[in-house]
């Protein structure tokens, strides 16, 4: 399998605080990769660094065989990286304007075709296309975030906690739409705390203290006693209860 994205000894942080302490990550094309880790493990920082929103202090990021470590976010989007942050949606703009913003860097023809496909995929957005995104429910807004990220036809979509702030029912809906993306051959990197997302993954990485602590298949993480306790819990840590609820 060919590697779509690869990082070697990636280090980054904010001012005096270093967050990433040498991340080595390899993502195969068409794979769905789940990045698990507690708050503060560096998941968001890693995604930001991959997108170029935070400069790398050391290390290399290679995407489709090309060194993108020093490229601007715009150039990375053009190269085929997509990013869905927690701030993915512009509440004051309409649903359609949000989708158009997701497709800024593809040609108009592709953008229009893609918009049509996304309206078919997310019918609820079609009804609300002229409404301000701020008026959508939390789940619909998340749908819009996913659709907006897909509008630019990325090769690799980085998602920062798609389940954050959603009810269990909505988490299921998001999972279903991501399963569809996966089936279409899109490569996904999903940073999550919610272990439900493991069922989606081909590969799982766990992150702790700014490093990748474990990499393997979802089955391997379940087989490992320590990891199972940390992420699935045996009713001991509050984090595991949260995972269990969702």
């Amino acid at each position: 399998m060919t590697c779509l994205l690869e990082t070697t000894d990636l280090r980054s942080g904010y001012g005096a605080i270093q967050v990433l302490w040498g991340v080595d990550l390899a993502i195969a094309a068409h794979a769905t990769v789940v990045l698990l880790g507690p708050n503060g493990a560096g998941k968001t920082t890693l995604l930001k660094c991959l997108m170029g929103l935070l400069p790398a202090r050391a290390g290399v990021i290679r995407f489709r065989g090309q060194d993108i470590t020093r490229l601007t976010p715009r150039a990375r989007i053009r190269a085929g990286l997509g990013y869905m942050s927690e701030l993915a949606v512009f509440p004051d703009l309409t649903v359609e304007e949000n989708l158009d913003l997701g497709a800024l860097f593809v040609d108009r023809h592709t953008a229009r075709r893609r918009r049509g496909e996304l309206y078919t995929l997310f019918p609820v957005l079609t009804e609300k296309r002229r409404q301000a995104a701020g008026g959508l429910s939390g789940g619909q807004r998340k749908m819009l975030g996913v659709a907006k990220a897909l509008a630019g036809e990325p090769r690799l979509l980085l998602m920062d906690e798609p389940s954050a702030g959603l009810s269990p029912l909505m988490v299921a809906t998001v999972l279903a739409s991501l399963a569809q993306c996966r089936a279409s051959g899109l490569t996904l990197l999903i940073a999550e705390q919610n272990v439900k997302f493991l069922e989606l993954g081909d590969t799982v990485f766990t992150m702790e203290g700014g490093r990748i602590a474990f990499g393997g298949t979802p089955a391997a993480i379940q087989a490992d006693d320590g990891l199972r306790r940390a992420y699935f819990g045996l009713g001991m840590s509050p984090r595991s209860t949260e995972g269990g609820l969702a």
Binding site: P73, L87, A88, F90, D100, L101, L104
Partner: protein, 311 residues
Amino acid sequence: MRSGFLRDMALVVAPLLVLFAVLPSVYDNGLLLLNFVVFLVLAQGLNLSYGFSGYLPFGYVGFFGAGAYGFAMLVTLAAVPPVLAVAGGGAAALLVGLLLAPLLRLQGAYFGLASLAASEALLHLIANPNLQDVTGGPYGVKLTIPYAPRLTYGLALGILTFTMALVAWLRHSRFGLQLKAARDNPIAASMAGIDIVRGRLAVWLASALVAGLIGAVFAWQASTFFPEAVFDIGFSIFAIVFTLFGGAGTLAGPVLGVLLLYGLYNAIGVSAPQYFQLTYGLLIMALVLFFPDGLAAIPRAWARRGRLADG
């Protein structure tokens, strides 16, 4: 996107142009009509900056004055043909806009006040007695070029068309969409790969350019003026009030603002200033309280209310 632009041009710009093209044949006061067009341009020019990047320059008149003086100096010192000198006035304002571009690092009221200070500084530079040979200093400008009311009026309408076409384009283009995203949420916009600085600078310069062009036309029409007359903060205030009253970010809003408020000003502002100011104040208060997004947002607000009632 293209259809939206054409719809705006057909439904707002074309009727307005026809109205102002016909008015001189039925109404004699050409100076008043030109002033209307001047304020239409200033309101739409301010709309470019405030409506699409959120920067509200209280010193907007600085560009207007720079255009007037750029024009006057080209005509008097370099004997440039007046029509060309109008373009020069625009270029002068563009230059001032570039010089003031670092102000865009400031936000909100700080930006507004800094731009006001910059416009005052420019006024005092131009009105400096030591520069009398160049700018005319405190004694102002006396142009000797022929008075050409039809030509200046036509130029003003051309500048108005250009300005409104820019606003219409921003409303329906990808570039305008990026600006709106950056205005509403700069952090998320930069995450989406939008070049915020470039966008803001572009509308800032466009906004400076049109004010300079119309300032040049104003200077030609006035032919004799003092520095204070073309750097009068009243121009800024009127442009701001008209734009906010009508609705920033829209195309029809600033037009409605100018036609209603500047119309009201001319109807009673001169003869009964106290009633004018009372009416003005009450109107603005009502608008800020009930329709903070301006007149142009009222139909939208009603439509929303209707939908809520149905649902």
